[in-house]
Structures are given as structure tokens and as C-alpha cells.
Symmetry: C2
Subunit: 176 residues, 2 copies
């Protein structure tokens, strides 16, 4: 069955977003001469991305909507807003768990859970994330939006891969 991957960056203290919307902290030291492109390796195995409305807006605002950044993937945007879907951007009103369960039944490659925290949380809670690929950014942000919420039970993980560049530690785990 297709794997569901949480691929995201967090500060050492577990925040995925600064409360002031800054993004400079995401770059780490920025001192390595050679920029290791782990995103390209990751995205090769992905054909579908799932995100919430706020994440969609943030991604869309970085570029124009006409030049959608994930145009090689099918994007599912979870929202109650009445939006018209396109060939590769599907606006859906289902819960995150319903969307992911439906996508897992379809044939295809890996499914990337892109954010935000309110999309990720119910998937964790219901054991729907197969791979945790977390980039730990070398900073203690002190406040912001937390990646992890309270869960009813522990999710034991197995570390399968690590990579380090610019002071950023990428940790890849599968569920044990």
C-alpha cells in the first residue's frame, strides 16, 4: 500500500512556524558550501500532496497561483471554501483522515503530508502516518505553532536514515 509521509521542518523545540511568520530560521547555519538537495531525493517518490487551506495560501503566495509549485503532483487542499478544482489541485471538504484513507486505497506513489498542524494532528492520532521525515532546524524558537499535539498513545519509531547539512539534522523514521 502507498506510504503516507510527514515531511516537514521543525525547530529543536518542536515549532513548525514562527508566530510572526518569519521563515529565515528554516535555513539553518546556511554555511555549507555545497547545498545538499534532499528535497529532490524525497520528492522523486511522491505523486500526491495533502495540505490545509493556510498552507495552500502560503505556498500559493510565494509564487503566483498560475505557477503552482507542486504542478508535477496531485495536490489535495482540505477546505470548506467553495473553490473550483483544477486538473492537479483538488479542493476537498473531507476530514484529513477520510482524504488520506481514500488516497491510500488508490494506486500511486507516496503521499506527502505537507501541513499545517491541524491536518497533521488527526493523522498522527489515528496512526495514518507511515514515515516521519523531520528536519530539525538548529534553533529554539520559543513560540509558534507546535508540530506535535497531545496523543492518546505513544508512537514508537525506528530511525532509518539521517542527513546533516547547514546544521540541520534530517531524521527519517518509520513506525515500529
Amino acid at each position: 500500500m502507498r506510504k503516507v509521509v510527514l515531511y516537514i521542518a521543525m525547530s529543536l523545540d518542536g515549532y513548525i512556524a514562527d508566530k510572526r511568520g518569519k521563515v529565515d530560521w528554516l535555513h539553518g547555519h546556511g554555511s555549507d558550501a555545497e547545498n545538499i538537495d534532499t528535497y529532490s531525493d524525497f520528492i522523486k517518490n511522491v505523486d500526491t500532496v495533502v495540505m490545509g487551506w493556510n498552507t495552500y495560501r502560503q505556498v500559493a503566495e510565494e509564487l503566483s497561483l498560475h505557477d503552482w509549485v507542486y504542478k508535477d503532483l496531485t495536490s489535495y487542499v482540505i477546505t470548506h471554501r467553495p473553490m473550483r478544482s483544477t486538473d492537479n489541485i483538488k479542493f476537498v471538504r473531507e476530514s484529513p483522515c477520510a482524504v488520506v484513507r481514500r488516497l491510500k486505497q488508490m494506486s500511486g506513489n507516496e503521499i506527502w503530508i505537507c501541513g499545517g498542524a491541524d491536518i497533521i494532528y488527526p493523522l498522527m492520532q489515528n496512526g495514518l502516518i507511515d514515515i516521519y521525515h523531520i528536519s530539525v532546524i538548529p534553533t529554539v524558537l520559543g513560540s509558534g505553532i507546535r508540530l506535535f499535539g497531545n496523543l492518546e498513545k505513544e508512537i514508537p519509531l525506528k530511525l532509518v536514515h539521517t542527513q546533516i547539512y547547514n546544521g540541520i539534522t534530517e531524521l527519517e523514521y518509520v513506525c515500529r
Copy 2:
């Protein structure tokens, strides 16, 4: 000046203690044939350890008080309880920041901040931790005692060393 080191283990979701007091999650996969002894390397540079009352009780209960585990160090236990200090266990009523500021003025080796969270938090908040040595345990605990609290400002870090064993990732940072 002597360095103050926060040397502690946390789950991927940032908990340093399970709410049920379990400790088995701290061992990681436990699958490496050779157990890498990073604690011995760390403790070589330490001559002083600072902890709160609950941490002291937990450490003391693991062994008997007559066989105090940190007997090669000077231990400072922060508590309001009327306890009689010994040669190498000093019970002090000062705040964590006052203790650490005083110890930094004294000559000596590294000062280990051992826990718990209520000792660590004011030290972070006041910029009194020089080295963050965090072992990330491969599990999402879901609940427990969080290592990091809300801080007024960001603490940018520089990753200086990593080591991996049993699925545990040790991350050592200094303040930038």
C-alpha cells in the same frame, strides 16, 4: 568561563518524562551490538551537576542514597526542604539562575544541568545555557513533561556534533 551544559534525552515530540513514569522508551531500538558510551565522554568534562528535588529523588531511588551515583561530582539540589548538605551533595534554596550564576563565577569544569523542566526553563529564558546536548529518542510519546516552555525570544544554535546509536540521535549545539 565554565560552560553550562543541558545534557538530556527527549522524545521526538519534546517530552523528557512519560506521564506514567516509564523509562523503557529512553533506550531507543536497543539493537546496536556495540553500545556507544557517549555519557562517559560527556561526564569527563563535568565536575558539577545541578538538579531539582524531583530529579534528585528519582536518581536517589535508583540506587540507595549511600551510593550516590554522581559521587565524583559536586551535586547542587535546589529545594526549599530543610536537608543537610554533605561534602558532595549541596542542598540550596536559591533560584536556578542564582545557583548557576554563582557556580559560573567559581573556577572549575563544565556544569551539567540535569533537570527537571522547572530548573531548565528559567536558565533557558535567561540565556544561561551554553551547550544544548539533546538525545532525541525514536518515539512520539504523545504526552508527559515537556523540555521546552514558551520563551520570550529565539535562541539560535550552531550544531557542533552528532552521534547516532540504537536509533537515538545525539545533537550537540552551542549558542550562536
